[in-house]
Amino acid sequence: MLSASNIPVPDYSVNKNPDDEPISSVLLLPAFVIVDCVTPSRTPDLISHLVNRSPCNTSSLLPLNSLSVPPESGLKIRSCPHDYLILLCSHRTRDARCGQSAPLLKKEFERHLRQRDLYRDSLDERPGGVGVHFVSHFGGHKFAANVIVYRRTPLPFHGAKESTDGAASLPLREAKQCIWLARVRPEDCENIVRYTILQGKVVKPDRQLRGGFDRERCVTSW
């Protein structure tokens, strides 16, 4: 799945791209890895060294997974700082409802997450917490609002490296679950934080569960 997100484009002024191409970062899931300095011409390296070698939703969780990329590719990798992600479809040019619901849900999620010091907006890279991002259309707007929750495995053993320039391998702390909900309303946000984000449970499975995966139990909805 390929999405655009409102995650800010990092400031790469020191690594200015000589070819005047756009340069940005890509968050790779379920690996929970941020690839920096991605440009259109570096895309083949991104795919061959990182995407194709990264774990996928149907692969089992292994404690020793890692990723690396040759320094000459120009790409850099680091671990995503957040433990959980909430992705809100906010693609208003595809469906007006997504453009309406996403900002309202973000505000309500923010209110509940702040009470637990778990809120991280797009610029907030403090470790842990919940990154809340707007993303482009991922299907099913007739069931708006769609909310995708990614939950990561617990913290790694002490001393694990969380970033690398690429030459060394980056140990992964991957997503163990993805819970895809729909028909989410503002009044659902509190229990989604309390039970779905923090515990991996679903509060209204019949009404709101569209699908997802659990890599610890090796199950998917498809």
């Binding site: 409102n6 191409e21 819970i179 991996g200 199950v219 998917t220």
Partner: protein, 120 residues
């Protein structure tokens, strides 16, 4: 007779069913069908809050916010293997951001077309 084998030994891509209702999980484990994909909350285990919507929420959707309330929801997502989120620093994307000429999204879609699932 449904299989009583633990879920752990089922194949990696085992598809599981949604739960039929909240009550199912309260019944003895003789119910038919595979176990739920995710554990449902139950008042007995998770407290009465799990069946109450947030009472302090003062945000509401616009009155005209109408959605499909009846169709079956579970299993309506396409399989996906990995998810790439391109940082764009904005949310006002054109209808198909992957068609934006010269963009990273376009390059990934071209190099790795199968990342792009058909979305409804």
């Amino acid at each position: 007779m449904p299989s009583l084998l633990p879920l752990l030994i089922t194949p990696v891509t085992q598809k599981v069913a949604p739960i039929e209702s909240l009550l199912t999980s309260l019944l003895p484990k003789v119910a038919s069908g595979p176990p739920p994909l995710f554990e449902p909350t139950t008042p007995a285990k998770d407290g009465p809050e799990c069946i109450q919507d947030c009472s302090s929420c003062d945000i509401t959707y616009p009155e005209k916010f109408k959605i499909n309330e009846t169709e079956n929801l579970y299993g309506t997502v396409m399989p996906w293997e990995r998810h790439l989120l391109v940082a764009t620093g904005k949310a006002n994307w054109i209808s198909n951001f992957m068609s934006e000429e010269g963009s990273i999204g376009e390059a990934i879609a071209k190099t790795h077309g199968h990342m792009v699932e058909k979305v409804k």
